[in-house]
Symmetry: C3
Subunit: 197 residues, 3 copies
């Protein structure tokens, strides 16, 4: 359920960036697909996990397609945007869920602590980076004066890995990761937290 | 034979884009290589098929090299371009062949119908996208007001998958895919077909 | 030891490009990471070698982190750059080492001569290309009027492969590759060697 929310929001973010770049429907679907599955696919390739998520779960491809059709119609006919706060909460949720999934799967594959944390960060953020790359933009999360984003997923993934090392069971550690990531991210938006350099 | 035509044309397209971007011979070869093998390589990585095509068939690397040398000389000394219609037909052929190869190999690897179609699309188009990404351009196939391209490969790959599901044998299904993709693509160019949105 | 120098210099080059692009610390670390490990990671994925280098050696991630912290402080508070000649020598060393590692591992994985040479080139240069791609720039090594760079790694890797074919043992062939690459690269800088086209 949480993963679905993450997929939906990330796909929608791909759509929005693609439309801003004047891409057509094919480009929009590609950007949405990369946003939603890019991070997880890269993680699976790096960890040598097969078959890939969207090959094993083709219904996810349909979901992203539906997001693109509905989203495209909305963006054309409704200048009114969906309430920003709702989107930001959903995006933070997606961030937390993907971060937890990435770190947990990496640990499961036998990766040491630090690479496992990195894999959580990568799962949560690489989709957005790939989206920006095919749109020929400097990735959003790397730009200065942006509010903490990668740092939040890092904190969440690190919490999960530490908890797992101390013997906390998988579900509890994942839940802690999601909660920590979401709270940290919302705080970063609310209080405009940025990296000092 | 058909695959060779596809490789040659895709390599040449990489060369042309690289030269337009003022790249030197190394950049041109890289762009040609990515155009010709990028889609197939990505497909093989996603399906976990090893060794990769150009590792198993090193003579292909030589072919792309020869295309680059001859093509570079042609582009410098002959402002006269090769007839556009011939190139478009060859490109459409490449599109069809790669689309058929991608979808067929995905089915063979046990992928469900929808991911298999996507793999056909990806095999045919990812090379061009990677070429445009290293040239720091918004990928051509995603730009608005471009004639149907991805849609043609999708149609061809979908036809192949449906025919295979209904028990048509591999070669016939592949042939149908190539013919459908080529005809659709040529029609798109001739009648300036575009996505409505 | 040589590999460590390569990693350090390549990471630093990522940092410098990221800072020029006004990226924050996260972006800088990502660019440094891609510069240092991008080539090797791509090589391992293409050759299907797992686990990846930085998953098996997490201390390398810490080293790149330290490079970024110290490098960021240096770049901010010291307009004085590290002596260019030292950096160029170190970069040439990194080029040689990565080129040798890539070609040797490819041969070991059973790749034929030509793909093995290409894998050496790719290991040495793909990190810089990926760095430039996430910075939304046309990759440096592809630009015209740049001094020979890829050509040097190609020469080094080709030398290694040829020596191995003639039965020279691994360490000697690797040493020859490093020396040839470094000398060729330094000569290219000194005498401003460029591709004629």
């Amino acid at each position: 359920m949480l993963e679905l929310i993450g997929t939906l929001v990330f796909a929608y973010s791909g759509l929005v960036v693609a439309r801003r770049k004047e891409m057509d429907f094919i480009g929009s679907y590609s950007a949405a697909f990369l946003s939603a599955f890019g991070g997880g696919t890269l993680r699976d390739l790096l960890l040598d996990r097969h078959p890939l998520y969207w090959i094993a779960h083709p219904e996810q491809l349909v979901i992203v397609f539906v997001v693109c059709v509905i989203g495209s119609l909305l963006l054309r006919h409704m200048p009114i945007r969906v309430d920003g706060a709702v989107l930001q909460l959903a995006d933070a949720l997606g961030l937390g869920v993907f971060s937890a999934a990435g770190a947990a799967l990496a640990l499961q594959s036998g990766a040491p602590a630090l690479p496992a944390i990195l894999m959580g960060v990568l799962t949560a953020t690489a989709g957005g980076v790939l989206r920006d790359v095919i749109c020929a933009e400097v990735p959003q999360v790397f730009r200065r004066r942006s509010q903490l984003y990668v740092t939040c997923t890092f904190t969440g993934a690190a919490l999960l890995v530490v908890l797992r090392i101390f013997g906390v069971e998988a579900d509890a550690a994942a839940a802690a990761c999601v909660v920590a990531t979401v709270l940290f991210r919302l705080a970063a938006i609310r209080f405009d937290l940025q990296l000092p350099f």
